[in-house]
Structures are given as C-alpha cells and as structure tokens.
C-alpha cells in the first residue's frame, strides 16, 4: 500500500507538517496573518491553475468567485446569528453560488474561442462589483461591513488566530491533494489533452464542452471557498474582493509559481504575499514602490514572455532533463559493456 504512494507525496506531507509546527516557533500576529493570506490565496491560485494550466482556459474575472464566497459568508453571519450552524450554511451557500455562476459562464462561452470566456468573465466580474456597490441594504456598498465569527469553545477562543491558521492550512492541504487526484484521473488527462489539441480530442470521440464546463465549475467552487476563508480571516467584507487586482494576483501567482503544476501556485502565493508585505514597507524609500502594480505588471509581462513555465515548471523541466541524461549515460555504458 505504502509503496504505491508517490515519493513527492511524502515531501508534501513533510512540508505540511512543518507548516503545522511553524506558528509555535514564530507566533507574531502579522506573520500568522500573512501565512493565512498565503494559504487562502494559494487555494485561489490553485483553482485558477485548473483553468489556465490544465485546460487552457483564461478567466479574467476569477475575482467574482472569490468575492461571491466572501460576501456569502459575510452576509450570512451578519444577518443571521453567529453560530457554527450558520457558518456552515454560509460556506454551503458560497459553494453553491460559485458553482452556479461558473456553470452559466461556462455553458455560454466555452464552446467558443478562449477569448470569449476571458471577455465574458471580465464583464461579469465588473457586473458583480457594481452589484456589490449598489445593493447597499445588503452589502453596505463600498464601505463594506465587519461581521463576527462564532466563538470557539473554552480556551481555544484565546488562540483564535491559531485556529484560523490551522483551518486554512488543513483546507489548503486537503484541496491540494484532492485537486491533484482530480488532475491525475482520466478526467484530468482529457483536460490536458484538450489544452494541447482540442481538435484531436474531439476526433477521438470526446465531447469537449462537458469537460470544460465541469472543470470551470470545480474551479469556481474552489475559488469561492478561498473567498470564504479570506473573509473569515479578516472578518470584514468590502467591494475590493471583486476587484481586478484580485484576479491579477491569482494570475501572477499561477504564472510565477508555474502553470499546470498545482504546487506552483501555492509557492507563487507565498512569493507574492511576502513581496506585497515588504514592498509596501519600501514606499518610504522611493515613491515607485507605492505604485507596485506597475512593478508587478512588468514582472508579469516579462514572465509571460521569457519564463512561461514558472519556477516549479522550470525546475521540473531541469529535473526531467537530468534524469533523461542519466538514463542516456547508463544506456551508453551498458552498450559499451555489451560490445
């Protein structure tokens, strides 16, 4: 049984275990908060990778799922009593809403060229942003609103941040393994085939639309869950969750970390979140750091042109090459011996 588990799985489990222990060594508030951000955006970026990396679908409105999740949980806990039952209800609402929106966006545009999905999601996200600003009685407009999360029993309440940290970490690890299982399943293989050559998959007798819609729904649901975690961790929801920069963050994390690798987006999330943190400190040094979107935009453009595989993708490539060379060497020496 144990032998069938991949070697990389043990590495991931070891890293996850270290992350569990991390807050006991470094428990400053800002650090815990930053790590929680890394986990939530890691989940968000993984959901983006499912589309961009595994299926070749570009979404420019991924923020709408994130925002839907955040608003669902916020509104549920704000209007209803703050109990665990309602927390659960809010999460369920977020997942269902995310799935429904992703389904309709998918069936409308996924039969067309990839441009259409990008345009439609961009427009839909801006529609949700307007909705959040205008539907003031529920969303409090651009002011946003704070809400309370249910109180934890007994001594746990004093370590609330730690509990949220663990919850986000466990969610991320579970989602990571779940999605990896999905991408290694026959369904995942078909998705990769669609990315590589749509016409060929179609001529092999597969209907492409259902696969694309399924993955867009899965991605929407996961992204919505990331929004839920984000809202829970800051206990506040504002219209910024629908902003284009949320989508851009996911894009950057996925591309810098490595498209189509799942672990890449998590690493990307770590890099971007920590870069955000330290760059905003630098704004006293030079004004250009206040306009960090420019820096990120330029890094992003350069990454798309020169570094399309990302960090993890490039590493995997190198490893594969080395393995290949080793095998070649072995082959040669055995050939020599044979002759």
């Amino acid at each position: 049984m144990i032998k069938t588990i991949q070697k990389s799985t043990w590495i991931y489990i070891a890293v996850a275990f270290m992350l569990v222990l991390l807050p006991f060594f470094k428990d400053e508030r800002w650090f815990l908060f930053l790590m929680i951000q890394v986990f939530t955006f890691g989940i968000f970026a993984m959901s983006y990778d499912l589309l961009l990396g595994y299926t070749g679908i570009v979404s420019f409105g991924h923020a709408m799922f994130f925002g839907l999740g955040a608003y669902s949980i916020g509104i549920t806990l704000n209007f209803l009593e703050s109990t665990f039952m309602n927390l659960f209800l809010g999460i369920l609402l977020a997942l269902v809403l995310g799935g429904i929106v992703a389904f309709f966006a998918g069936i409308l545009t996924l039969r067309l060229k990839s441009h259409y999905y990008a345009m439609l999601t961009l427009a839909l996200a801006s529609l949700f942003l307007v909705l959040a600003e205008k539907w003031r009685s529920v969303t409090r407009g651009s002011d946003g609103f704070t809400f309370r999360i249910p109180e934890l029993p007994g001594p746990l309440q004093d370590h609330r941040n730690l509990v949220v940290y663990m919850f986000c970490l466990v969610s991320m690890v579970l989602i990571f393994f779940g999605l990896r299982r999905l991408t290694e399943s026959p369904l995942g293989k078909i998705l990769v085939a669609i990315r590589e050559n749509e016409g060929r998959v179609e001529s092999l007798g597969f209907r492409i639309m259902p696969y694309k819609v399924i993955i867009s729904v899965v991605s929407g649901v996961v992204a919505s869950f990331a929004g839920v975690l984000y809202a829970i961790s800051i206990r506040f929801v504002g219209t910024n969750v629908f902003g284009i920069d949320v989508t851009l963050d996911a894009l950057l994390m996925t591309i810098i970390g490595g498209v189509g690798t799942l672990v890449g987006p998590i690493i990307g999330a770590g890099i971007i979140e920590f870069a955000h943190h330290y760059l905003s400190d630098l704004s006293d040094v030079h004004w250009i750091f206040e306009r960090w979107i420019i820096l990120f935009g330029i890094v992003y453009i350069l990454a798309v042109i020169f570094f399309p595989a990302g960090i993890v993708g490039t590493l995997w490539h190198k490893l594969a090459k080395r393995k290949h060379k080793k095998q070649e060497m072995k082959q040669k020496t055995s050939d020599k011996l044979a002759s």
Binding site: G56, T109, L120, L122, I293
Partner: protein, 290 residues
C-alpha cells in the same frame, strides 16, 4: 418627447465613443486573431493626452491631434513590445495584453499624477442649441458627427481603396493574402496603429464631455468595447457600429430610469446574443469563433 430625444442623443453619443474603441478591436481581431485587452488603456491615454495638450495649447483641434499621435505611437509600441513576442500563441497573447493594460493605466498615474484631471470644453462648443422644446447639447452633437464621419471614412477606405481591399481580404483569409506576396504583418501593424489612434481619439473626445479624465476609464470602456465586439460580431466594422449604438442607447435610457440596472441590461443583451447567435449579429465569413 423632449426627454426621449435627449436621452436618445445622449445614448448615441456614448455609443459613438464605444464604437471608436470597438472598431479597432474588431479589425485587429479579424486580421490577426489577436484580442488586445490593452485597447481600453489607449482610450484613457487619449483622454489624458488630450486634456494635457488642451491645457497647453488652448486649441481643441490640436489637443485631438495630440491624442491621435499619442495613440499611433502607443499602438506601435504595443505591437512591437507586447504582441510580437508572443505571436501565434493565443493564451499568452490574452495574458500579456491584460498585463499591459494594467501597466498602461498605472503609467498614467505616474506621468499625469494620481488625481482625476478636470477637462473643459472650448467655449464655442459649450452650451446647447434649442429646437422648439428639444435641447441639443453642442458637444454631444459634435461627438455624433465625428463618430459618423469616421465610420464613413473607415468604410470608404475599406471598400474603395487598395489598402482596404487588402485588409478585408486579410480578415477573411490571411494566409491567402500572404501567399499573394503582400506583407500581412506590415498591414497588421498599420491597422493596429490606426485602431489605437481611434481609441485614443475616442478618449480625447470623451473627457471634455464628462468633464473628467481618470485612469480607470480605460477598463470601464474597454469592457463595453468587448461586449460590443461580441454582440456585433468579431471582425465586422458595421456590426460594431450597430452594437455600439445598441449598447449606448440601452445604457443611456437605463441610466436615466434605473441607473443601477444600466450595466445589467448591457450584459443581458450580450447573453442573449451569446445564446442565440454566438458569432454575433454581423458574421464575417472567414473569421471563426470556435
């Protein structure tokens, strides 16, 4: 009646501005299969350059000219730096142009300062004409006239000149045009620059009418332009005019009666088109959307 006409004129003027962005977008797409998400950024740049030039020269014509020149240059830079390196790779093109869009709108804040700029009309275009009980705001009439003129010029160039013939043939089948010994890339750069200049001119026209220029307007109008291109059909110039007027009018009327629903109505229009006629109202043969 008065209200109806005023709203209609208002909507048509907005539609004309959207058309100026959309027609470049649609031609670029038809020719090279490139969807330029940075196109809206040129609209915002046009607005800022126009306001800045008007502040210096106090001449409306010169400010429009400055915006057009800025658009041509930015179009050339965009094509050379952003589109060319990822030529032929769809996903990379979509990704990179969105990144450039953000850089363009942030650069505006660096060059012109982070604040909203106030824009003013020249005195001879301020005010309105009265026909009985109908008041026509002069500046809006100017936008409509300019938009219509440009549409006619674009159509005439496409229909009656050799360059137009090459462009139209390129939209239908670029490999064939290339095979006939025409450097399609050069044609493409030209169309890209002209399309960018049209978007910039649209921005320069828009700023005095709304009274302000702000960096986010690029994204706002860019999204409208995408919707228009989807409704009108990729690659079709008349299609984008009709769709732009449709979107402008529905937006104008809804903004008056239920302003919160204005955006939603535009989206519903797009959904209907996507469900029943995904290739758009005006299909151009040779441009596939699959």
């Amino acid at each position: 009646m008065d209200l109806f006409l005023n709203l209609a004129i208002n909507g048509i003027a907005t539609g004309m501005l959207i058309f100026l962005i959309a027609c470049g977008l649609t031609l670029i797409f038809g020719l090279m299969d490139v969807l330029n998400f940075a196109h809206g950024g040129l609209f915002a740049w046009g607005a800022f350059v126009g306001v800045w030039a008007y502040g210096i020269t106090q001449s409306f014509i010169l400010s429009m000219l400055a915006a057009v020149i800025a658009g041509l240059l930015l179009g050339l830079i965009t094509e050379y730096l952003i589109i060319k390196p990822v030529y032929g790779n769809h996903i990379q093109q979509i990704l990179i142009t969105l990144g450039f869009m953000l850089v363009l709108s942030e650069l505006i804040k660096v060059v012109f300062g982070p604040n909203i700029l106030a824009a003013s009309k020249p005195p001879y275009l301020d005010g309105s004409w009265e026909f009985g009980d109908v008041t026509v705001i002069k500046y809006r009439a100017l936008i409509i006239v300019v938009g219509l003129l440009l549409f006619l010029v674009i159509m005439a160039v496409l229909k009656f000149t050799k360059i137009g013939l090459i462009v139209r043939a390129g939209v239908m089948n670029k490999e064939m045009v290339q095979a006939l010994g025409i450097n399609i890339r050069l044609v493409f750069i030209g169309v890209f620059m002209v399309g960018s200049a049209l978007a910039a001119l649209g921005g320069a026209l828009f700023a005095p009418s709304s009274g302000v220029a702000y960096a986010e307007m690029g994204m706002e109008f860019g999204i409208f332009a995408f919707i228009v291109v989807i409704i009108g059909g990729m690659g079709s110039v008349p299609g984008s005019l009709v769709a732009a007027l449709l979107v402008g009018l529905s937006n104008g009327f809804m903004a008056y009666y239920y302003s919160d629903l204005a955006m939603a109505v535009t989206m519903i229009l797009m959904f209907i088109v996507l469900i029943f006629r995904p290739e758009g109202l005006f299909r151009v043969s040779g441009v596939s959307n699959k």
